[in-house]
């Protein structure tokens, strides 16, 4: 897989004119992730089919679609966990991005050590990694639980720890695979708030976010752009306003109306 190490940051709220029809958003800057004709097969099953996708710095891209449409596979290709069967995927190096799973696994260790592990695996000394982990936990309001066994945390708390891990890594891109799918409404709100805080641009810092979701309300709140997938193909790639208000391909329209799950 090719890597893009020197992509230029862009403003978070970059103006992208709505396209006249459901096609890809016109390129207006260097892409952090660039997929061209990407196919992905699991044996005889074709999970992704001819995917062309550019994601630029500061974008907040929501991947939506029915179960089995290829959202999770696409996130894994973007992260570099899966190599395309054919086509090219030029992505940020893995040490500049973080992937948050739907059900993050906590190792049988303290919360602090779980966060520090990611830093340690990327070459940071253990003592310093633990220190950074503590700072990151404070950002997700979990510093008080730093010494607790991570296995005892609730789903929402575990998701916050996973976000703290991404925060500690100071990732340029945050990929999330249905991060609030199994959470109660309160935990959902907390995680969403943290996602928003994570992508807030700071001095010299622009964070790009790509997340998959079934929750269209969440997509409206968090995304600047929506990519609709169906059977491994991109059927619509639009700014969020156009996706919810403009004309859509029939299947995407049914999905938005809730008539397709």
């Amino acid at each position: 897989m090719k890597r893009l190490d020197s992509a230029l940051p862009m403003d978070a709220d970059m103006a992208v004119a709505p396209p006249p029809e459901a096609g890809p958003i016109p390129a207006s800057g260097p892409a952090l992730f660039a997929l061209r004709g990407v196919d992905l097969r699991y044996g005889s099953v074709r999970a992704l089919h001819g995917i062309d996708l550019d994601v630029r710095a500061g974008e907040r891209v929501a991947l939506v679609g029915s179960n089995g449409s290829g959202k999770s596979s696409l996130l894994r290709v973007l992260h570099g966990l899966l190599a395309p069967t054919s086509g090219t995927a030029a992505c940020l190096p893995r040490n500049r991005q973080a992937l948050v799973f739907q059900r993050p696994h906590m190792l049988r260790a303290s919360v602090q050590n779980n966060v520090a592990l990611g830093l340690w695996l990327r070459g940071m000394g253990w003592r310093r990694a633990r220190q950074s982990a503590l700072h990151a936990l404070a950002r997700v309001d979990m510093a008080e639980l730093a010494g607790r066994s991570a296995k005892t945390l609730s789903g929402g708390q575990q998701q916050r720890v996973a976000l703290a891990q991404a925060w500690a890594m100071d990732a340029d891109a945050l990929l999330l695979d249905e991060p609030t799918a199994n959470l109660d409404p309160h935990a959902k709100r907390e995680v969403e708030a943290l996602m928003q805080a994570f992508v807030q641009p700071g001095p010299g810092r622009t964070v790009t976010m790509v997340f998959s979701s079934h929750n269209l309300g969440q997509v409206k709140r968090l995304a600047s752009r929506v990519v609709y997938l169906e059977r491994g193909r991109i059927l619509a790639d639009l700014p969020v306003q156009s996706f919810f208000n403009g004309p859509l391909p029939e299947e995407a329209g049914l999905f938005v109306k809730g008539e397709k799950i």
Binding site: H105, R108, G147, S149, T152
Partner: protein, 247 residues
């Protein structure tokens, strides 16, 4: 009183009076099996963890062989070690035959496939469940094997206890390579076999009771470890709190 009841009563007297012959046999037996388990675990944990995370051509054949070795008859292992350690064998120069070391080697060979195969299964399940997350954090194959083994340490502890149970209760291998020499290589299982054949049932029954007690103790330990793990993961363990060893 029938023979069984008389034997049991005498056996209990032997146990309660801490009969020196009985204690010698029990002590040697536990020492042999503990050493064998340490050796088998050193090799079996590494092999199992490695097989749990790597993919290579011919892996299916290796796993079939490993799983077949789970059912290794102990006398066959004894015979193999005997041939290796006998004077004319390739390792005859060591002079280990009919010694403590020979029994340790035989039991280690017997138990190693058990540790390796069960460890592999635990690590494969863990890899399937969260190996992808560790890869996303940057863990390579070796580090993943290490982390998954560490993460599953309580499950592995039960495997190690079960392996000890297998070692301490086998008779064929230690009989062949140890020779059942009194005060030197006589362990619980070989002593039971000998005393029964001689008709000295009280000692055989006493050893049988001790052996059963050891196995019972091991199973109780396994149950306690499992219960403690479940309680710990549920945040309830207060009565036996272990330190966070990664701290």
């Amino acid at each position: 009183m029938n023979t069984l009841a008389e034997s049991a009563a005498t056996a209990l007297r032997l146990i309660s009076s801490l009969d020196p012959v009985l204690l010698d046999i029990v002590g040697l037996s536990l020492a042999v099996s503990a050493c064998a388990c340490l050796l088998a675990c050193a090799g079996g944990l590494v092999l199992g963890a490695w097989l749990g995370v790597v993919r290579f051509p011919g892996q299916g054949v290796v796993l079939t062989v490993l799983n077949t070795m789970l059912a290794l008859p102990s006398v066959v292992v004894g015979l193999l070690v005997y041939l290796l350690l006998s004077r004319s064998g390739p390792l005859g120069f060591l002079g280990w035959l009919f010694s403590f070391k020979a029994m340790v080697v035989a039991q280690a060979i017997l138990v190693l496939p058990v540790v390796a195969a069960l460890t592999r299964q635990v690590v494969v399940d863990a890899e399937r469940s969260h190996g992808e997350q560790l890869r996303s954090l940057g863990a390579g194959t070796f580090m993943r094997g290490l982390l998954l083994t560490w993460d599953e340490r309580f499950a592995l502890l039960t495997i190690l206890i079960a392996a000890f149970g297998r070692a301490v209760s086998e008779v064929g291998a230690v009989m062949v390579v140890g020779g059942n020499i009194e005060g030197y290589t006589r362990v619980m299982t070989t002593a039971i076999a000998l005393e029964t054949s001689k008709g000295d049932l009280p000692l055989a029954v006493a050893l049988g009771i001790v052996l059963l007690a050891v196995v019972l103790l091991l199973n109780t330990l396994i149950a306690l470890v499992r219960r403690w793990c479940e309680r710990r993961d549920a945040g309830l363990a207060g009565w036996l709190r272990m330190p966070d060893l990664t701290a």
